[in-house]
């Protein structure tokens, strides 16, 4: 059975807390080629806005490991990405991610799945949401 709109609203337990570190922020900003001083501040660096994807991606595992959905990462394309930011991630934040299936459309042998990953601190402070549309192609035998 493929994923269908019946699965909309399904959510998964929070990922283990991810500790945002100065070294990881610097590594990520350098990889983007972005020398903005906010990312390299000596006392309180913030992470680039798209850093949230690093933590959200850890929550993605839940949908690919859910046997009921029949989704496989190697047949999946990342079609679009949205970030809604309450506040920037900072060095020292312990961030947990909760994934919810927000929208599913099936067309032919393609599944279009929107997943929303809510990020908060381990203490419960809301940090933002990373929402992605994934396009999944079902394997031959399920078409």
């Amino acid at each position: 059975m493929p994923i269908t709109s019946d699965h909309v609203g399904r959510s998964y337990p929070a990922t283990p807390a991810y500790r945002v570190s100065r070294a990881k922020i610097a590594e990520f900003a350098t990889a983007l080629g972005d020398p903005n001083p906010a990312y390299f501040d000596e006392t309180s660096p913030i992470a680039p806005p798209t850093f949230a994807a690093v933590i959200a991606a850890q929550a993605w595992g839940a949908v690919f490991e859910d046997p009921e959905l029949g989704l496989a990462l190697h047949r999946t394309i990342h079609a679009d990405q949205r970030f809604d930011i309450v506040r920037p991630l900072r060095e020292g934040d312990d961030v947990v991610a909760r994934l919810t299936i927000e929208k599913v459309r099936n067309r032919g042998n393609t599944d279009m799945v929107t997943i929303a990953v809510a990020l908060s601190t381990a203490e419960g402070e809301e940090l933002g949401t990373a929402t992605s549309q994934l396009i999944h192609t079902r394997p031959q035998e399920e078409r």
């Binding site: 990881k24 590594e27 990520f28 350098t30 990889a31 983007l32 080629g33 972005d34 903005n36 906010a38 990312y39 913030i46 680039p48 806005p49 798209t50 994807a53 690093v54 991606a57 394309i77 990342h78 079609a79 679009d80 990405q81 949205r82 970030f83 809604d84 930011i85 506040r87 920037p88």
Partner: protein, 137 residues
């Protein structure tokens, strides 16, 4: 930048993003996205790509610098959306390739400016409907 300087139609200073294979590998490590289409020509071609392509999330993240350089403080960004419309192939040479980023203010309302971004590579649009919202400083 003063809020009074910001109005609909303003073009932001353009930004060229240069990248080589080394940058793709660096982003794979930083983001922990090790999909082989980002480091193996063989695996990329098996999926119909011209060769190694950079992560769409790299293009999205690096392009946002046109906005954060302009407002100064990246903490002012409240939302950002982009569709990944075409892959950016990165040749295995010393020159690499370039993505051209342009942006302009398309709305200003309630202390929030909406900025539309365009990113082009090799004559193709690589980000679709890209929009960032920033709180005015």
């Amino acid at each position: 930048m003063k809020p009074s300087d910001i109005s609909v139609g303003i073009e932001l200073p353009p930004l060229d993003l240069h990248l080589t294979r080394s940058d793709v590998v660096r982003y794979a490590g930083a983001s922990t996205d090790f999909n082989p289409i980002h480091h193996s020509d063989r695996m990329a071609r098996a999926l119909g790509l011209p060769g190694v392509v950079v992560h769409g999330m790299w293009t999205m993240g690096a392009a946002l610098r046109i906005v954060t350089d302009w407002v100064g403080d990246p903490a002012l960004v409240t939302s950002y959306f982009a569709r990944f419309t075409a892959p950016v192939a990165v040749p295995d040479d010393d020159t690499g390739t370039t993505v051209q980023v342009r942006a302009r203010v398309v709305a200003v309302s309630d202390g929030v400016a909406t900025i539309a971004l365009e990113a082009d590579h090799d004559g193709h649009k690589v980000l679709g409907a890209a929009r960032a919202e920033v709180r005015l400083p």
